[in-house]
Symmetry: C2
Subunit: 329 residues, 2 copies
DNA sequence: CTGAAAGCGCTTACAG
DNA sequence: CTGAAAGCGCTTACAG
């Protein structure tokens, strides 16, 4: 079977395909009667627009979504929200996971360029202070709006949608300070991670307000469970803190496992605090007070800002959006 | 800045864009010297092919991926593997989550048709015996290969990549039969779910071999945590089984939470078995023997089969692929 | 309000 | 081995 195209409808409606095109894409430009006839026919005949042809002349109605990983619930939820919202607004998503590889990320961007995407939402592989891939210049020179998602780096972009990481650290710190713990172990991310450092700084602010900085031990791991598990296990050989604070969900998971392997009963021998929710903690009956981030909102704002930029006449810069988390127990 | 196109390269190479097209897409059709000159120029000038234009005449090199949800780790892992493998083979993925909505699923398929996708991998929203959406006929009439992912329904399709659910149930049953439990609570999926019923049948086979069918209680929930939690909580008010067997990861998570809410200490007051791995159980120190499925393999096979079908001259049917799980403790 | 002409960037037979 | 012609399906100024 062949797909029905504009000219098929045109024949039946006794007009040209130009009018059909207008009736379907710019209805206000066509007389009501003709318009209605055409729309009805299109419906009946099962017309499906050809995006490849459309995208060749006008907007591709396609956006690119690149995230470092999709197995971390933070990102899988974000992707769900982003894709749903984009679809609702008439945009489709070409999707890539970079798996923390700069090369894959780079290739993904090239592919997106080849699809004439209208815009890109990207959570880059690293927010190391020195990560500034060249392709952002290319995107800019082609006037393709770019929303940086969650991870902020120094590159040309339209706007960023981030968490308020200092605030998250500070709020969690305040919560922790409600009790009077003796020794606090904080497991942070990389020394060069802005997110990790912001969270850590927020935490320190809260601690110093109560003069508790001396009770702090800090481990610099990264945002994966494995390294956290290993470093916490090493630490526990020397010292037993009263609580462990993980600065993201993966870190906290790693710390939990280290304690399990060390023979601790969770919640009894060791208490945990976390930035980012540990989604399954309730299923295992372990209570982990945490900073919960509104991922719905993050995803919604990313898409909204991107589409604003796409549909604006001037492709200038938009303001960043900073989303605050809140304590959840 | 404008994108460089074939004709730009052509001018510099003193050939027409036809030759450039061939040098890049069908290199064997062009004299070695010309070919090399063109390829070098394309590289230097930063040529990026326009997929919209390519897709208008020839293959779009785009496939559609639709899954019911991306927050279940089973699917997020599968999507990761599918997208990665597709990219490696030169195909890009338009991605949709149907969120268990038949309407969204349907719209997603229409969108894919409008992109002239070369093929579709779809995990449908339901494997209820009666779910057989019309759009599969449309896909077939347009000769678009379709791989059914994980959920098998009675509709036209090229092939399916499934789990061996009877085998999974049977293997888990054998494992459970190693011990001599008094009362076994099995939490299954919907009465109309083929996957759930197959797993349940496998389980029953193993139980009846040991004449233990009388020790069995069965709850029919669905593949979400909420209902399982509720039904198990209700059950526990009347009776305390020796073990609980969850027939997918979400069900097991729900059962865990019900026990927690009932005041049980996991692993001590209640032991669990599961089909599907509970990824974070090791972090919480709860051991849950389970049937682990090789999602890498599932995803890999889906993509491989789809691309075989796409690139075959005859778009016939391919054989289904059934992937077996194995016990993990 | 509608249409004729031209073009988006690439590819596909068909010649030579 | 290379090119001239035509076309993929749609849209965009420009006329009328």
């Amino acid at each position: 079977m062949k797909k029905v195209k504009l000219s098929d409808i045109a024949k039946r409606a006794n007009v040209t395909s130009i009018t059909v095109s207008r009736a379907l894409s710019n209805p206000e430009k066509v007389k009501q009667k003709t318009r209605e006839k055409i729309q009805k026919l299109a419906q009946e005949m099962g017309y499906i627009p050809n995006m490849m042809a459309k995208g060749l002349k006008s907007s591709s109605k396609t956006i690119g979504v690149i995230v470092p990983t999709i197995t971390n619930p933070f990102f899988s939820n974000a992707v769900r929200v982003i894709v749903n919202n984009a679809n609702k607004r008439g945009y489709n998503c070409l999707f890539f996971t970079s798996d923390e590889s700069a090369e894959i990320e780079q290739n993904a961007v090239n592919t997106l360029l080849s699809y004439n995407v209208d815009g890109v939402i990207i959570g880059v592989i690293s927010e190391d202070e020195n990560y500034a891939p060249e392709y952002f210049n290319k995107l800019k020179s082609f006037h393709i709006p770019v929303v940086l998602f969650d991870r902020n780096i120094d590159v040309p972009h339209t706007c960023g949608v981030y968490l308020d990481n200092v605030d998250s650290g500070y709020k969690l710190g305040k919560e922790i300070m409600c009790d009077d713990y003796d020794d606090i172990l904080v497991v942070s991310g990389s020394l060069y991670s802005r997110v990790a450092n912001a969270r850590l700084n927020g935490l320190k602010m809260a601690f110093s307000e109560k003069d508790k900085m001396s009770k702090l031990d800090i481990i610099y791991a990264d945002f994966n469970a494995e390294l956290s598990k290993k470093l916490v296990a090493d630490f526990l050989k020397k010292k037993k803190p009263s609580i462990i604070v993980g600065l993201n969900n993966q870190i906290t998971l790693g710390a939990l496992e280290a304690c399990v392997l060390n023979g601790y009963v969770l919640s009894v021998d060791m208490k945990f605090y976390s930035i980012d929710e540990i989604q399954t903690s309730k299923n295992f009956g372990v209570s982990i007070p945490c900073i919960k981030h509104d991922i719905e909102e993050l995803g919604y704002q990313s898409v909204t800002q991107l589409i604003r930029a796409i549909e604006a006449d001037e492709c200038g810069e938009l303001s960043d959006i900073i989303i605050r988390g809140s304590i959840a127990k």
